[in-house]
Amino acid sequence: MEKVRSLLNFCLILLASIFILLSSFFITPGAAAEDTFKVGMITSVTGPMAPAFKPMFDAAKPTAELLNQRGGVTVSGKKYNVEIITEDDQSSPPGAIAAANRLMQAGIKFIVAPMFMPSNMAIASVTEDAKILRMKAFGSGPEEVNPQMQFSFFSSSSLYNIEPCYDYLAKAYPNAKRIAIIMPDDPGASTHLTLNKKVIEKRGLNLVFQEAYRIPTEDFYPILTKALGKKPDAINCLTSIVPWSAGIINQSRELGFKGPIFCPGLFGDINLVNSMLKPDYANDIFHGGPDVLSKKMLPMVKDLRKLVEKTGSPFIMDSALPLDSVYLMVQAIEKAQSFDTDKVVKAIERMGNIDTIWGPGKWGGEEIFGNNHVIKRPFTFSQITNGKVEFEFIP
């Protein structure tokens, strides 16, 4: 009996092996791979930056689905479906390098760069030599895009938001002459600070206070006590994320500050910020970022919103960032008619105009970054008035 059972088991294993062997002749692994354009995306799924950047991970599949509904990417008459492969940088530069290595080992040549600036700067050491094209949404300064980084690009830069934000300040608050800058101790904020100071000086405004707070800070009473002692008319947060923005706004109002608070970079998702403000304090706040829930959003963002919400995830500004980057890669590849990143970089440098999910854009950036690897596109302006978010595109 025992012998019969052993024989039966052996036959079963043999049959299974033959089945697997035979099926391997009918499955052509190359075919599936050839029909797919694989894009890597490095974001923080674990660690301290995860709360800020996990929405990008949640939006990866809906982004690919949307791009595939629109035809994927076509090279030499052949259509490829977009697939986004996500890797976790564990909120740290070494984690980002490990993630970049995993993507490179999988043969991926295009990466949506991590939003966490130290991570993006760290992976340059491995991706540039391997000619991996990195596209970062909502980029900041020349630390990440410069002539030494031939394969690094920004889908936009918040540095271009500085002038329009001061234009609005001058128009809406003509008496706001004394500016206090309260900024995070973030390497990305240094170029912002330099350019903000230039604009303040050029416009005859007075910088009465400037200090960086440590990351993470929740209690802004000490820095605000000092800043408000200088009697500013307006507070500029330079660049921020949602909890810091809400903290600075709520706590400065508690301490009696009634003037405008603005952020030429981004406050983070403006609707999230608004949801965290005490109702009496949700006034005179503006930044250079989009309200992705606005009816004024372009069709691609509206379509993405439907797909993301279908998965049960909330749709916030960060959910649109993978699409912001991959949509540009798709256009650049189609222009180059090749997946060779050398050819794609050359195509980008010849492209001039390009369509973005925020409207028509143009490659530029020479004056700040030393090369034309940054897109200038319509300025997205949001403000909070009486507890409501108002949004407009400014060409």
Binding site: T46, G47, P48, A50, P51, A52, F53, K54, P55, D185, E211, A212, Y213, R214, P216, T217, E218, D219, Y221, P222, I223, T225, K226, G229, V242, P243, A246, G247, E254, L255, G256, D269, L272, S275, M276, K278, P279, S313, P314, I316
Partner: protein, 286 residues
């Protein structure tokens, strides 16, 4: 620097002290009774914030009722954690630290997968700002200080005046001796964990309403909590109060006098200086 700014910064420091004392009380209680540094105390604090948030925003419960339920629920979670994860390693510092670090990852990712990563906040019914001679403090911060003092007094009375409290004191001084006297170590450890986690839940709920909450909010709380108990003396409740006051005042006053970076350095320098002269902490035993 004006007098208003100086008084404002002292007031800021006292408000921060209230928060730090609340966080450190639970941590020091668990340390003194169970002999372990509960590294996932910050995550318990975070769960306290989220549970109150859902009770207030999701179920529409009264804020104070939500605080009470949160204290009980998270306290029960503490009993569960003690029974399953910590009891087998009681008194074994290194193993308990590894277990609690693993719990940090598990609890953080659990909350992130349930609640998402977006920061949240909710308004407590305590609104408005108290303003005297140009100095301002929100009533919400004032309430946190008051809650901290009330819970501290309650805990102090419980330990000094009840038989169970005396048993806790006995275990913290000599576990073997207490066991020989017939004190049920398992029961008292579970109670310590219940109280420690419950206190962390209240701290998390109050801070979540005051600032904001996210699945990683516990790391900052743990860092401050550990600094407070090291400075005050490991396992000492009066030490947690003194340590909380010192660190809170440093955090409130020095950033106003200098930059926040130098203030951070001064804070740690003060801790190191005190520990050089009193390695056991201000109120700790040799």
């Amino acid at each position: 620097m004006s007098w208003v700014a100086i008084f404002q910064s002292i007031l800021n420091g006292l408000a921060s002290s209230g928060i730090y004392i609340l966080i450190a009380l639970g941590l020091t209680l668990v340390l003194s009774i169970m002999g372990i540094v509960q590294m996932s105390h910050g995550e318990i604090y975070m769960i306290g914030a989220y549970s109150s948030y859902y009770m207030v925003m999701g179920l529409g419960l009264n804020f104070f009722l939500a605080l009470l339920i949160s204290f009980l629920l998270v306290g029960c979670l503490g009993i569960f954690l003690e029974r399953i994860f910590f009891r087998p390693f009681r008194g074994e510092l290194d193993r308990a630290v590894i277990i609690s670090i693993a719990l940090i990852l598990v609890l953080q990712n659990l909350v992130m997968s349930i609640a998402g990563g977006d920061p949240r906040s909710y308004n407590s019914p305590i609104s408005g700002v108290l303003r005297i001679f140009g100095i301002a403090i929100s009533w919400e911060r004032f309430f946190i200080v008051l809650t901290g003092l009330t819970l501290l007094a309650a805990l102090f009375l419980f330990i000094r005046k009840t038989k169970t409290g005396q048993a806790m004191l006995a275990i913290s001084q000599d576990r073997e001796g207490a066991a020989l006297q017939g004190i049920n170590i398992d029961r008292i450890s579970a109670l310590a964990m219940f109280l420690g986690c419950g206190l962390a839940a209240i701290a998390g709920a109050l801070v979540g309403a005051l600032f904001s909450m996210s699945p990683t909010m516990g790391s900052f709380a743990l860092m401050k909590g550990i600094a407070v108990i090291v400075l005050g003396g490991l396992g000492s409740i009066p030490g947690a109060v003194i340590g909380g006051l010192i660190i809170g005042l440093i955090d409130g006053i020095f950033p106003v006098l200098t930059t926040s970076h130098i203030a951070g350095l001064i804070g740690f320098a003060v801790i190191i200086l005190i520990l050089i002269f009193r390695p056991q902490g201000i109120s700790g035993h040799e």
